[in-house]
Amino acid sequence: MRQFPSDVNALDKVLSWFEGMNRPFIPQKVCLQCQLALAEAFTNAVRHAHKNCSPEVTVDIEVTLLPQYLEMRIWDYGPPFDLEQQLKNVPETVNENAHGGRGLSILHQIADELSYTRTDENRNCLLIVKHY
């Protein structure tokens, strides 16, 4: 598990940490999709969940590589949020006229499983599961 500051400028640290993981068995395409999903998840945590927090409040990320799939968990200290309800409002395909909401749509398209649950300690955990 790694902790990152609530700052969109910390995205380079998130990306290089993910790139540094040993994963020769994952196809490049899947890797790029997971990297993008992780970036969108991190940015959502910083911009939305931690909107009113100082940068010292961390976003905690854990990536678990398994033989057939990987799990990425992103914890934030934000208020509760109904992801499932929000996803119902996100169109399956992103159209040219949609300004925002692309991040969630991208997560939705990439992830085989996607959930956002309230944990102990008043945190939220976004879980992204992706099969290879």
């Binding site: 400028n9 993008l36 970036a39 940015t43 911009r47 992103v94 925002g100 692309r102 991040g103 991208i106």
Partner: protein, 107 residues
């Protein structure tokens, strides 16, 4: 006699996310305000782009098209290609392999 269109090139670098989205969009719009017919976005030095960076490009596209100009794109790496495909923006933007490819096709 052909009159060549006025082409300006915008060449962002590094990670193109929310932190750089605003200045990126402004740079594109400045060129159009100064008379560019075509703004070519050369992504060869961009290592990673997320939905915020793409959002800035799409927002700029609307303004640019409304003014009768164009945004064209070149030199996207595999990561950007993934992003463009996932969001169907590969069907919205004309994407060239590199600046030479663009020059041959357009100029």
């Amino acid at each position: 006699m052909n009159i060549s269109p006025v082409v300006k090139v915008v060449q962002p670098s590094g990670i193109l996310n929310g932190a750089k989205a605003q200045p990126f969009r402004k740079e594109i719009l400045n060129h159009v305000e100064n008379g560019a017919d075509i703004v070519l976005i050369d992504f060869k030095d961009v290592t990673f782009m997320d939905s915020s960076g793409l959002g800035a490009l799409v927002l700029a596209l609307k303004t640019v098209r409304a003014g009768g100009s164009q945004i064209l794109v070149c030199s996207i790496n595999e990561q950007l290609k993934t992003l463009f495909e996932l969001t169907s923006m590969d069907r919205v933007f004309t994407i060239y392999a590199n600046q030479d490819d663009f020059n041959n096709a357009v100029l």
